[in-house]
Amino acid sequence: MIFRQIFRYEFGYQLSSPSTWVYFFLAFMVSFWFTAIVRPGDDTIYLNAPSFLVFATIFNSVIWLLTAGVIAGQAAARDVQTRMFPLVYTTPVSKWKYLSGRFTAAFLLNALIHLVIPIGFFLSFYLRTGQPGQIGPFSLKAFLSAYFYLSLPLAFYVTACQFSVSVVQRKAIAALLVSFLLFPILSQLIGYSVAVWLGKLELYNLVDLVGVSLIKEIETWTPFERNNRFIQLTGTLLWNRLIWFAIATLLLAYSYHLFTFTHQVENSAPKRKKKKTAAEVAVTDLPAVESTAASFFLPSFGRSAWFSQLLAITRSSFRYIAGSKTGLTLVGLYALHLVVFAGEYLKAKGVPQYATPMNVLPMLTASLTNTDSGLVLIPMLLTFLAGELIWRERESNLNAMSDTMPVSEWGLFLGKFLGLALVIGLWMGFLLLAGIGIQLINGQTSVALGVFIKALFGIQLINYLLFAMLVMAVHALVNHKYLGHLAVLMVYLCLVFPEKLGIEHNLFLYGSDPGGSYTDMRGYGPFLAPFLWFKAYWFGWALLLAVVGKLLLVRTMPEHFRGRVQLIKNRFTRSTTLTALAGLVIVLVTGGYIVYNTNVLNEYVSSGTWVEQKAGYEIHYRKYLNRPQPSVTGTKVNVELYPRERKAEIRGRYKLVNLTQVPVDTVCLDIKHGVETRNIRFNVPARAVVDDRFHGFTTYKLQKPLQPGDSVQLNFEVVWQSKGFRNKGMDVSVVENGTYFINYERLPTIGYSLNRELRNDPDRKNYGLSDWKLPSLYDPNSRQVRSGQELISFEAVVGTEAGQTAIAPGKLVRAWNEKGRSYFQYATHAPIRNTFSIFSARYEKYASVWKDTVSGRKRDVTFTIYYHPGHAENVKRIARSVQAALPYFTRTFGPYPHDHLTITERSDSEGFLNAEPSAVDFGEPFVLLNQNDNPQALDVVFFAMAHEVAHQWFGTGQVIPAASEGAPVVSESVANYSGLQVVEHTYGEEQVGLLLQMWRDDYEVPRMWYMNSLLQANDPFLGYRKGVMALYALTRYTHKEAVNDALRQMLTRHGTGKPPLPNTLDLYRELKAAMPDSLHGLLSDYFEKNLYWQMKTDQVSAEQIDARNWKVTLRVKAKKYIIDSTGSDIAQPLNDWIEIGVFAPGVKSKPLYRQKHKITAEETTITVRVSEKPAQAGIDPYYLLFDLFLDDNRKNVTIKGDGVENLKQGLL
C-alpha cells in the first residue's frame, strides 16, 4: 500500500514536470523523423524493416541515455537536494518501500519513454506520407522484439545504475555522470579497447551497452534478412543482457545496503577539526573584536578591479572543476590509456608503426564532431561542466548573496568560461604529455613537441574553446540544467549531421573548418590558412555568443522569459554593445573573406550540384560509351609545376590512332572538373560539336573521318591553380612539398568514362537511372579497352622548383636547371598503360640495379626509390622486396617488360600502394611500419611491395583485366597470390602463416555473408581476400606449379594488353586446365558459388599402441551450404577431399599427419596412425575451405589412460 503511494506520487510528480515531457517529446520526434535523418544504405531495404527499427531504437537509446538521467537522479536524490529529507526520513516508511517505490516510478517512466520510440517510428509511416523509399508491412513482432529485447532491458539497467549511484551520492546530477561513464567510457572506450587488445571482439559484444555491436551484426545480413529477420534473445545478446542485469541488480543491492534514513554531513572533515569546531562554537561570549583596520581600505571599481574580479571568478571556477571527481580525472585517464594502449593504436595490419607525429596525432586529436574517437569525451565533458558552472551558485543556494555582488555579468560569464578554458588547457597538457610518452616509449628519439603543441594548443584548443562558448551560451539561454544538456546535445547532433539539415556551407556550421590532415611530408601545409580564417570567423560568432550569454545569464530571481528579455535592455551596456559590434565586424569581415574564397575564387559545388553533374554526365553522354573511338597511343606532356603558388601548367599532345575497323568522324573528349582545359587542337580540321563544360564532355567532328589505322594529333593545355581555399577540403595536388596527381583526374581522356558515373543508388533513382552495377562478365563490350587502359608510349618534361625532384613514368633521360628551376625529362622504352602520376617533392633517392640473369635477355632493370628524408627506415626493405620479386616473377611468369621501375612516396595520410606500369607509389604511413624492431611480425612492407611488383605482370602491366565483374580477382587476387609466393620463397612457412592469418582475420570481420561468386567478384573483399585464399588453397590441393602454370598461360594468351581484355572466365579456364578433373568440383565451389563449409572437430582421442605408434581417433562434423540473397542456407551434398591433421606439442611443430580424406557424411569418425605422441588434431586444420567459424576446426587430443597430462598442452 505504502509502496503504491510512494510509486504513484513519484510517478505523478515527475509527470507534472515539463522536463519529463520533453524526453517523451524528444523520443517521439527523433523516431518520427528518423528516416529523414538516416536511411538504409540499400534501397531494397524497407524503411520500416525490423533491422532498421533496431537501428532507430539504438540511435534513440543513445540520445536518451545521454540526456534523460535526471529522471532516475531526481527519483533517487530529490529529497536530499530539496532538503526535504528530514520530513521524509522520519516517517515510518521502510527503506525497502521508499527506494523500491521511487525506483519503480523512474524505471516505468523510462520504459514508457522507450515505448514512444517504436510508436513514433511506425506512426511516421502513416502520418508522414510521401517518404521516398519502400515501406513494408507493419510487423508487430519487430515492434515487440525491439522493445522487449533492447529497450526494456536497457531502461532497466540504466535506470538501476543511475538510481543507485544517485542514491549513494545523494545528487541527481550523478545520474548523468553515470550515463557518461556507462556508455562512452565503459562500454565503448574501455570495452572496445580491451576487446581489441585481447583480440577478442566477442568480449566487446558482451559489454556493449546499447547494442552498437548489434548494428555491426546486422551488417552481415542480406537485404532479405534485413527486411524479414528479427533479433533474438540468444547467444551473445542474451549473455549481454544477463551480465548487465546482474550488474544493475548488484548495484541496486549495494546502494540499498548503503542507504540510510539519516542526515549526512556534507563534508566529513577529520575528527580533530570537528572537535575544534565544537570548542569554537561554545565560546560565544567572546566580545566582538573591534577592528578599524578594515575601514582604511576602500573598495575600488576601476579596470584593475574588473580584472581581479574576472581572475577571481576564473580561478574559483577552475578550482571547482579541477577539484571535482570528473574534472581532470577522466581526460587524464584517457591520456594514460592512450599511452598504455599506444602499441595497439599504432598497429597497422598487425605491425607496429613508428610513432611519428603523423601516426600519433590521430590519437591525440580528433575533430569535435568525430563521434568515433574516444575524444568525443571532451565535448561531452564540456557540456556537463559548463552546466555545472552556470548552475554553480544556484545549486549551492549562494546565488542570493553572490548575485548582489558588484560584478558585471561579463565577469560572471567570462570568468566561468575562462575557468573552463583553463581546464581544457590542462586537458591538452595531459594529451601533450601522452603524446610525448607515446613517442618515447615507442622508440622515437626526437619528440615532435612543436607539432604536438601546434595541434593541441593551436587547433584542438581553439575548437574546444569555441564549443565551450557555445555550450555556455546555450546553458545560459535555456536556464534549465537538464534541458540545457538536452539542448546542447541537440546542437551537437546538428553539428555532427549537418547534411541532414541541408547545411553544407561551413559558414553555417558553428566551429567548422574545411578540414585537413597532417602528413610528415606536407605538414599542415595548405590547411592552416583556411583553418585560421574560419576560426577567426567563428571567434566573431563566439563573441556574439558571449554577448548572448552575458545578456541572458540569470542573475537575479528568475521569473519568466519575458522578464529576462526586459533585463536585456538594462544589460546592454557600452561594453556589451562594443563587444557585439566587434563580433559582428569580425563575422562580416572574415565571413566575407571566406565567401570570397569559397564561392568566388573557387567554385562552390553543393552536393546537389555534384550529383547533378554526375547524373547529367551519364544521362547525356552514356550513349557514347561504345561508340568507336580512336585510341591514344602516344602521350607527350610538358608539365610546369609551381609548388609554392600551388599551380600547374601542362601542355600535352596525344597521338590518336583509329584501331577500330570503321572510320571515326567524332572524337569524344572527357574534360575534367577543377582544371581549365584550353587550346584543344587537332592537327586536322575539326570543329567542336558538343562543348559541355558543366558536365565535362566535348565532342569534335573531324572534317575528314579517320580511317582505320590512320592517326591524328591532339594538342591541349591544362592549367590549374589552387586559389585561396574551398569550403571543404583542399586541392593538394600541387603543394609546397609533396605534389602528386594522376592523369585521369586532370588531363582530358578519350571517350565516355565509366568511372565518372554516379554510384549511389538512391541518388541515381532520383535521376531516373537504374542501379549502378559493374558491367557484366558476359557483356562482350566490357572487354573493350577503356580510357586509361590504352597502351601508349610516354614522354614527359616536368619542371619544378629548384631543390625538388619531379617524377613521371619512364626512364630519366635528362635533368637540368634552367632559370632557377629544375627540369626532368622522362621517356618509356616499352608501352605502358595510359595511367600515370606526376610527383614533385624534396626527395631522397635510393637507386639500385637488378641484373636480369633469369630471362636470358641480359637486360638490367634500374629501380629507384624516392622517399621523404625522414622516412628512410624501410627503404632497404622495399629494395629487398623488389630484388626478390623481379627474379621470382620473371622466372615464374615471364620477363619484366621495362628497364626501370620507379617507386615513389606519395604525400598522403593514407598508406595504400598503387601500381602503374613501371611505377609504384605508396602513401606515407606505409613506410612508417616498424618492421625493423619487430622481426617476428608479418613483413607487410616486403609483401605489399612484392604485390605491387606483381601488378607489373597482372592488373596494371601485361594482363589488363576487362573493366567488368571479376576484375578484382584477376588483378588483386593474383597479385596477392604472387606476393605470397615471393614471401614464401624468401621467408618460408612462418611468414606465409602470418599473412594467411591476416587475411583470415579480415575474413571474420562483420560483413554480409551473401556475396557474389569470385567469378563475378565486385568488391575489394572478394578481390583482396577470398580470391587469394582460393588460389592458395589450390596450391595445397595440388601444388603451386599448377596454379603458376595457369597464371603463366593466362599471361601468354592475354598479356599483350590488346582487346578483347581478359576476365575471370579466362582465369577460371586456365585454372581448370591446370587442375586434375578431381578438383573441378572444388574449383566450382570456390569460384562459381557463394559457398561455405562448416567443419568441426567434436572429439579427438589417442591411444599408444607401441613405442613408435599412436592411434588417433577423430570424430568430425562437416557440411557445406550456399548462402543465397535471402540469407538462407541451402545445404549442398558433401563429397569433398578435406584435410585431416594431427600435431605434436609445441607451436612450430610439423604435422605428424596431414592427409586429405574423402568426406561424404555429416558426421565421420576417422582413425589415423602417427609416430609420436599427438597434442592436437582436427579437420581442415589449415583452413583451406571457407569456414565462417574457424575456432572449432582443431581440438586438443585426449590421451586414453592419461587424462591429466594433456590438459596443459599449449595450443599449436
Binding site: S308, Q309, T404
Partner: protein, 301 residues
C-alpha cells in the same frame, strides 16, 4: 544618504500581489521592517537588494536610481538573504576572500586585512581554515554577515537575520549592526519585535503587501499610552471577551490566558492598564487599530 521607495508594487506572474503601492523614506541608521510571515517583507528586501524588479514604482538611494543603475547600487550594497547556502568544500577564509575581490578589493594586501578583520569581527577567525560544509547554522549566518559587511556598505539589507541564532549570537549580531548603522542605511526585516525595539530608530509595519504603519518606535509607544489593558482569564472565556472588546493579543501565562485589549477608556472590571510596548504597537497595527488600517476604518465610518 537616504533610501526613497516610491509607490512600489509587485505582482507575480501567477497573479499574487506581493507589494502594493509601498512608499517609504528610510534615513541613515537602523530601520526595522516588521511584519508577519508572507507579508511581502522578503519581496521588498529582494527588490532593494537588486535581485528583483518591481512591477511599478521607483527607488532611489541618494542620487542612485536603484532600478536602472543596479551596478552602482551593488558597489555599496550589503545583503544578507534570509536563506542562503555556501560552497561546502571552500574554507571560510577562501570564500570570503573571493567575495572580497568581487566587492572591489583587488589589492591583495588590503583584501587580506579586510578579510581578517571581518572574520575576527564575526568571530570566525579561528574557524577560517575549516570547510564551510561543516559549519553550524550560527556560523553560517555569521559568515553571511561577514560577506554582507564587506566594503562598509552604504545600504545594508538584512532579511530575518536573527531567526537561526541563539540568544548570545543574536546579541552580538545586533551589536554589529548598530555599529554600522551610524553612517549607513540599515534595513532589517524581521518578525521578531524585540529586534526592532532594541535597535531601530525608525520602523515600518507591513502586512499583505501594504505598509500599515511608518513610525518611530518611541512615538508609536507613546501614542498607545493609556489605551492598552490587560486581563487574565480562563481560555474558555476568550470568545465572549472578543465579542465585546478589541482584543489585540493573547498570551499564555501559568496556564491562564493573558489578554491585551485596546480601548480608549477603562473597558471593564478586572482590566488593568499596562505600559504599552512595541509588541502592542505591532498587534494594534495588525488588528487595524493603528496606522493605515485605522485610517481606513475611519474613512469607512
Amino acid at each position: 544618504m537616504e533610501l526613497k521607495i516610491n509607490n512600489i508594487s509587485k505582482t507575480y506572474p501567477n497573479g499574487v500581489t506581493a507589494l502594493s503601492q509601498v512608499s517609504l523614506c528610510i534615513p541613515n541608521g537602523m530601520y526595522g521592517l516588521l511584519g508577519p510571515n508572507g507579508a511581502g517583507k522578503s519581496t521588498l528586501m529582494r527588490i532593494l537588494a537588486t535581485l528583483q524588479d518591481p512591477s511599478e514604482g521607483t527607488i532611489h538611494l541618494g542620487d542612485i536610481d536603484m532600478l536602472n543603475d543596479k551596478d552602482e547600487v551593488r558597489k555599496t550594497l550589503g545583503y544578507l538573504p534570509q536563506e542562503f547556502g555556501l560552497y561546502p568544500k571552500a574554507t571560510a577564509e577562501n570564500l570570503l576572500d573571493y567575495f572580497a575581490v568581487l566587492k572591489g578589493f583587488s589589492q591583495k594586501k588590503a583584501r587580506r586585512e579586510v578579510v581578517e578583520s571581518l572574520l575576527k569581527k564575526v568571530n570566525l577567525w579561528d574557524a577560517r581554515r575549516q570547510k564551510l560544509g561543516g559549519f553550524s547554522g550560527g556560523m553560517r549566518q555569521r559568515f553571511g554577515i561577514a560577506v554582507a559587511l564587506l566594503g562598509n556598505p552604504k545600504l545594508l539589507i538584512v532579511d530575518e537575520p536573527t531567526a537561526g541564532l541563539d540568544p548570545t549570537e543574536r546579541v552580538r549580531f545586533l551589536n554589529l549592526l548598530s555599529e554600522l548603522g551610524e553612517n549607513s542605511v540599515v534595513l532589517l526585516s524581521t518578525h521578531i519585535v524585540e529586534d526592532v525595539s532594541e535597535l531601530c530608530t525608525n520602523m515600518a509595519i507591513i502586512n499583505k503587501g501594504e505598509i500599515l504603519l511608518e513610525t518611530q518606535p518611541l512615538a508609536a509607544i507613546n501614542a498607545l499610552r493609556g489605551k492598552i489593558w490587560r486581563l487574565m482569564i480562563e481560555k474558555s472565556g476568550l470568545p465572549e471577551l472578543e465579542q465585546h472588546h478589541q482584543v489585540i493579543s493573547t498570551k499564555l501565562f501559568s496556564g491562564k490566558t493573558v489578554v491585551h485589549v485596546y480601548s480608549d477608556i477603562q473597558p471593564g472590571s478586572g482590566f488593568e492598564m499596562v505600559e504599552p510596548d512595541l509588541e502592542d504597537v505591532y498587534f494594534s497595527t495588525m488588528t487595524g487599530l493603528m496606522g493605515t488600517g485605522r485610517k481606513k476604518q475611519e474613512a469607512a465610518l
